[in-house]
Amino acid sequence: MIAIIALLLALQAAPELKVHVDAGLKAKSAGDLDAAIREFQRVVELAPGMAAAHVNLGAVYYEKKDYSRAIPSLRKALELNPNLPGAHGMLGVALLAQGYASESIPHLEEAKADDVLGVALLEAGRAREAIDKLEAALEKQPDNPDLLYYLSQAHARLAKQAFDVLSERSPASARTRQMLGESRAASGNREAAEKDFRAALAMRPDLRGVHFALGEMYLGSGDYENAEREFRQEAQLAPGSASAAFKLGVVLMNRGEVRSGLAELQRANALQPDMPETLLELGKASAAAGEVALAEKLFLRTIELEQASSLAESAHFQLAQLYRRLGRPVDSDRETKLFQEIRKSRK
């Protein structure tokens, strides 16, 4: 705004300027950016001490994504008049686009552009501050995939920084091996992960989470015997862990241990009530144990919570089976239809 007022004052003083400014603005709005550049360059020649002239030229280069030319014009404008937030914003973005993240930060701060500032902070290695800015930007644009991506990157970078510190200061510690194991398990390197987890447990047998991670790995390859052993040990270490009780229950059911599986799933539900995954598995376990009324209630609750998710799909399927066994074909057909509808919509 200030630049525009200054420009208007200058236009009153020099009529030729007005001709070129008008032509530049017209060309710019017509999308003829090269013509606009020619006109605004002439304005800069006529009024080199006028910040607005440099802003206009820089803005056209910016629009053209010619950041290397936009940067000097915008810098010159801000040198002449530092109170131009728009120029700061454009300069910040231009600098960031050219890889000068640190230099872009003060300009983006002046422009109060939280979204781009978050990215600049992240690229400058200031992940913690980046998270604050990205979260602030996400409050205004909660579904913006770019912001969500950079936020996850910022968290990952912080996690890596913490891991680097951990492995540097305590390279042989149980926690380092646990962390290595988790990283290797995530990348599919099961054998190395298992070695790390075992090493961690050898040092600290009471370490929480390691047995759970091992159990997940075994469960993921269909090794229920070893998975049961690990989840059972995790459940002993952390009797208040609903996750450990849930996984142990699932594995026991898969091993055909209906009564003990049911007990663990009931325990998981008591520790963390109303979790849809637990309700569904508990329903299946109850049905297998012959507790059909309870099973029906649990499946219905799962559907109530989940609506049209894969869990709801499965719950409708379970209900259809249950009703058919109970001799309620109309109810079974209805649930089968609902199951098929969700299944079709999810394909």
């Binding site: 599919g188 390197n189 390859s221 269909g222 898969n254 379970q318």
Partner: protein, 492 residues
């Protein structure tokens, strides 16, 4: 794919012979139509005649089975379609299938054209059965995918892999009615079989609702399974979802490959086992009566035993003659690079034997068997010692002939001779005590087993045998001495 194997006594000498279906080699994938080099002896199907000393002789050329055409070989079905007392062969292919009539003198003749059973597309498992109880064996042919070599696509990132079946369209299965006189008629549409399209690999027959008509279970890959209920009027209705055999216990589809349709828990009701891929757990559906099945893989222990394995050929037979049918599975993952994709899984696996202990399955040792790329599996008593043996086909390797060392339990094997029913009594239901066996050569994956009916008798030295023939005739044989093969002729 591929890997069909059959155990049959083609020359009626009382010794089981082995027929193996070979695949083929594609020299030029870009050249259409595809030529799989089946005229090269390296890619012939093979017939091995068993000699008196237990060895085998390759009689492929002498039997007239040398030239397999140029289609890629898949599976084999065995049945005496013309009721002449000699087992005939039906070979499925990617491309035209072939019916070989057994001439009764050790040779076979390709009668596909005159019989009208060439089919086409990509056939997989097939089976002979008499769906209308007219005394002639009909033919059911499963077909896999709507695929041809000109429309091939590549899948897998970063490691090349077979494309998932959902990348291709489904196709109909085919039902051929045996019209007599060596001719068949395609009744797929009028029977209702073609009303649904699938991605079929396995097929098995039994009468799940006890109405006297053979029903059809079809194992589909990556979609719901099919159960065709035989309505007894020449038509079928697909009822897998309604009966509870379409999906897993979570309502998920899986990679159905092999199938067996037999009574595992001695309650007289035929159950269904379907083999599938690792992490899916082989599916066992217990027949609860009233036309309803219940997923029983978890409660029988089968899920825990099979969650990390991939199964193909499958058989439910009483391998230790204790009176309960045990489960044998030929195994191997479908991807030969699965270790790179999931380091917890293995491509090569040894065949598995799961011992049936009063309806629960336990791991049983098959000591000394190597991990192989097992596919087809056929079953029968190769050495006539009263204990069921198995032959497993191996992709890119020699087949495994697995002889059961047996034990001290007693046994009884019945060779059925139909009169009003089809000549081999396929579809007969035989009961000894609480055990029921359905006479069939079908089931497994791409394979055909010996059609004789085997029972383990435990410590019993004799048995009372009750037979319900497909014609409806009931026959009771009292106090039959154990440990022998008995020929039973259907009453006139």
């Amino acid at each position: 794919m591929g890997g069909g194997v059959a155990l049959l006594d083609y020359n009626n000498d009382g010794l089981l012979d082995i027929f193996l279906v070979n695949g083929g080699k594609l020299d030029d994938p870009a050249k259409l139509p595809a030529n799989f080099s089946r005229r090269d002896p390296a890619y012939w199907n093979r017939l091995y005649r068993q000699n008196r000393d237990g060895s085998f002789t390759d009689v492929t050329a002498a039997a007239g089975l040398a030239d397999a055409g140029n289609n890629y070989g898949m599976g084999v079905a065995v049945g005496d379609y013309n009721n002449d007392g000699f087992a005939d062969l039906y070979v499925t292919n990617y491309g035209r299938n072939t019916l070989y009539r057994n001439n009764g003198n050790g040779t076979f003749t390709d009668v596909t054209a005159e019989a009208g059973v060439g089919a086409g597309g990509w056939s997989a498992s097939a089976g002979f059965f008499d769906y209308d109880n007219d005394g002639r064996l009909d033919l059911f042919v499963t077909r896999y995918l709507d695929w041809d070599i000109g429309r091939n696509i590549l899948c897998g990132t970063p490691f090349h892999a077979y494309c998932r079946p959902d990348k291709f369209g489904p196709v109909t299965n085919i039902l051929f009615h045996n019209e007599g006189g060596g001719k068949f008629r395609d009744v797929s549409a009028e029977s209702g079989i073609a009303a649904v399209k699938g991605k079929a690999l396995g097929v098995a027959f039994n009468d799940y609702d006890g109405d006297g008509f053979a029903d059809i279970f079809v194992a589909n890959d990556g979609m719901e399974q099919f159960l065709f209920h035989n309505k007894g009027d020449g038509t079928f209705e697909e009822r897998a979802l309604e009966t509870g055999v379409a999906l897993s216990d979570d309502g998920k589809s899986y990679a159905g490959m092999g199938a067996v349709f037999a009574d595992y828990d001695n309650d007289g009701l035929p159950d269904i086992v379907v083999t599938n891929l690792a992490l899916e757990k082989y599916a066992l559906y217990r027949n609860e009566g009233g036309g309803q099945f219940r997923y029983a893989s978890l409660t029988t222990g089968l899920a825990a035993l099979t969650a990390h394995s991939s199964g193909w050929g499958v058989g439910l037979f009483d391998f230790d003659n204790r009176g309960w049918k045990d489960l044998f599975v030929a195994q191997s993952h479908v991807l030969d690079n699965v270790e790179k994709i999931h380091s917890g899984l293995r491509y090569l696996e040894p065949p598995a034997m799961f011992r049936n202990v009063a309806g629960k399955f336990e791991q049983s040792s098959l000591a000394g068997l190597p991990p192989v790329a097992g596919r087809g599996a056929a079953f029968g008593d190769i050495d006539n010692d009263g204990y069921m043996d198995a032959v497993v086909s191996v992709l890119g390797g020699r087949p495994l002939v697995i002889l059961n060392r047996g034990g001290k339990n007693h046994w009884l094997t019945l060779k059925l001779v139909g009169v009003h029913s089809n000549r081999d009594g396929m579809g007969a239901k035989i009961q000894i005590g609480k055990q029921w066996v359905y006479a069939t050569t079908s089931g497994s994956y791409l394979s055909a087993s010996d059609g004789q009916v085997h029972f383990g008798l435990g410590s019993d030295k004799e048995a009372t045998v009750e037979i319900i023939w497909p014609s409806g005739t009931k026959q009771v044989l009292e106090k039959i001495a154990a440990d022998r093969i008995v020929t039973v002729k259907e009453p006139e």
